[in-house]
Amino acid sequence: MTDTVKNTLLFVVVFSLIIISGLFQGWNNAMFILNMGLISSIMALGVNLQWGFAGLFNVGVMGFVALGGLAAVLVGMPATPGAFSAGGPGVIFALILGAATIVAAVFTYKRMAAGRNRNLAITAILIFGFVVFRGMLDPNVALIEDVNPAATGYLGGLNPGTEETYRQNGWIMLIAWPVGGLFAAGAAWLIGKAALGLRSDYLAIATLGIAEIIISMLKNEDWLSRGVKNVVGIPRPVPYELDLQSSAAFVERAAALGFDPVEGSTLWVKFLYAVLFAIVLGIIFWLSQRALNSPWGRMLRAIRDNEVAAEAMGKDVTARHLQVFILGSAICGVAGAMMTTLDSQLTPGTYQPLRFTFLIWVMVIVGGSGSNLGSILGGFLIWFLWVQVEPIGLFIMDIITSGMSEDNWLRAHLLDSAAQMRLMTMGIIMILVLRFSPRGLIPEK
C-alpha cells in the first residue's frame, strides 16, 4: 500500500467518523466537530512548525491562542463611547513609560560594567519606573472601567459601527484573524528574544509560565479585555440565524432541501464558517508544505537534527529558531482569533493548559511530528475523540453498571465520573503512540 493510499484512507476514516456522529447525534453536532477540528488542525500546524520542523519545545500555545482571541475583541467590537477619551491616552502613555523603563534597564545592563553599581542602578530604574508606571496607569484604568461598567467598562475595539450597528460589520472579523496572528507574533518575538537560548525543557517551563501570565493579564486587565466579565456578542463574518429565518428566500431554499428553517439556518451558518476555516487551513497548509520542502525547511531540519553541525556550516541557529518560533506562534494566534469568532465571545476564564496546550501537543504527536498532513489528521482525530469520549464513556459505564442495582453507590459514582474519562483517554493514546509508533500516523518523510 503506497503512502498516498494509506493517507487517503486515514482521512476517509476520520471524516467517516464525523459523518457517523452526524447521523447519530445530529448534523449540528457533526458540523461543530468539523469546525473545531479545522481550527485545531491549524493550531497543530503551528506547533508542528515549531516542534516538527525546528525541534522547539513550546508549551505556551494557550497564551498565543488567547492573544488571538484578544485581537478578535480589539478589532471586532465597537469602541466604547467616551472610554478612550476618559483614560485612553493616559493608559497608552503609561504603557510607553513601562516599556521605556524596561528598555532603560536592559540598556544599563548592557552598557555598565558588571558589579554592585550596575545592580543598584538597574534596581533603582526598575523601582522608579514601576512606581511612575502604576501611578500613571491606575487612575486612567479606573476612569475607563467606570464607563458603564455593567455593559462595557473597557476600551472596546476598532469596529466602525455603534453599539446598535456594529454587528453589520462582520467582515471586520476577517481582518481580525491576521491581526490575531500579528499579536501572537509580537509576543513570540519578545519571548523568543528572552527565552530561546534555553535548553529544551527549560524553554518548555518558560513558555508554560508565559502562557499563564498572558491568561492572568486577560483575566485582570479589565480595561483591555473586560477580564472575567467576558466580552460577548462579537460580530461574525457570516449571517445570523435569525436573519436567515426571517428571509423568505432562505426559508424556501431550506424547505426545498428538506430542512426546517431553524435547523437549516444553523447548519448553513456552520457550513459557511467551515468554508472560511477550510480556506485558511488550505492557505496555511500550502505555505507550510512549501516551507517544508524549501531550502529553508531543509536547513531547519538540519538544525533540529544536529545544532552543532548546522552552526559549523555557517547557519545562524538563533535567528532561525526565533523566526520559526514567531511563525508558529502567529499561526496559533490566527487559530485563536478564529475560535473566538466562532464562539462569538472571549471568556478568559475558560483557557486551560490541558485543553489549549497539551491537547494540541497530543494532536501533533499522534498525527506525526514533522509532517503537516499528519498534524491536520491529528487535529481532526483527536478533536473528534475529545468530544466523543464523554458520550462513549457514559455508554460503556451504562453497560458496566447495568447489572448493579439502581441505588448502588459505585454505579452512581461511575456514571458521574464518566465525564472525566477524556483526559485519561488522551493520555493513554499519547503514551501508546509514543511507545509503539513514535513517528505518528503519517510519519515525516
Binding site: R199, E212, L423, M424, M426
Partner: protein, 337 residues
Amino acid sequence: MDFLNAIVALANYVLIPGIAYGSQLALGALGVTLVYGILRFSNFAHGDTMAFGTMITILVTWAMQSAGIRLGPLPTALLALPFGILGCIALVLTTDRLVYRFYREQKAKPVILVIVSMGVMFVMNGVVRFIIGPDDQSFSDGPRFIISARDFKRLTGLDEGLGIRTTQVITVVTAIVVVALLFWFLNKTRAGKSMRAYSDNEDLALLSGINPERVVMMTWIIVAALATIAGTLYGLDKSFKPFTYFQLLLPIFASAVVGGIGSPLGAIAGGFVIAFSEVTITYAWKKVLVYLMPESLEPNSLVQLMSTDYKLAVSFVILLIVLLLKPTGLFKGQSTT
C-alpha cells in the same frame, strides 16, 4: 507600640503564610529536582503525582474518620499519610515500569521523556478526577488554631492579632523533619551516596558497580513520598482540588529552577524565594505601613504592588530573570543553556 503592631501584622499576613507555603513548595521542588538529577528530565506529571498521593490520603482519612479513629488534637490525615505514600509509591513504580523504563533503555533524549511525562500527566490527572471528582474536598479536622487572632489580642493587648493555624505549624514541623531525614539519607547512607554519585556522573557510577535500576527505584520511592507529603500539607493548609494541584506545577518548577535544578539545597531555598515573593508582591502593605509611617504620610491606597491574581505571574517573572541572568540557579545546579 505601633512598631510592635506593625511586626505582628507583618508576621500574621506575610511571614507565617509565606513560611508555610514556602515549605510546601520546597517539598514539591525537592521531588522535581531529584527526578531531574537522577532521571534527567523535567517531570511534568509531578503536580498530578502530588494530587494522587493526596487523594489516597484523603480517602483513607475519610475511612478513619468514619471508623472513629482520631489522632488526638492533630488532623487524622497525618495518620493516613503513610497509606497515601504507599499508594503513591505503587503508582509511580508502576508508571516507571510501564512507561519510563522503555525510554531509559533506549537512551532517549530528555525532551522525549518530557513529552512522555505530559502523557503521564494526562492519565494521572484523569485518574484523580475519575476517583475523587474535580471538586474541592476538605479533609482537615481537629482544632483550627493553635492561637487565634482574638486570643492573641486579649493576651498581649495589641491592636493587631496574630493567628497561627494548626496546619501551618504542622507543615513547618513536618517539612523540617522530612528535609532532615532526606539530607541524612543522601549524605550518610550508602544508598544515598550511590544516588548522589549517579547524579554527578552516570558513567563513573556505573563503572564503580552501582545498579542503575536500584538507584532509579529509590529515587521514585523518595519522590513519591515527598510528593504525597507536600500535597497533603498543601491540602490541609488550603484545600484539595485536582486542578489546583496541576497549577502548583508552575511555582514548583520555578522553585526548582531558581534554586538550581538538581540541587536539593537549592530546591528548598527556591521554594522560600518563590513563596515570599508571591506573598510580598501581592500583599496590600497598607496595614503594616499605617503603623510605621507618621500620620501625614499614611498611604491612601492599598499599597499592593500587584493584584493577587498575578501570583503565578510573579513566580514566573522571577524564574525568567534567574534563567536569563544566572542560568545555573542560586545554588549552582545544572546549567540551563
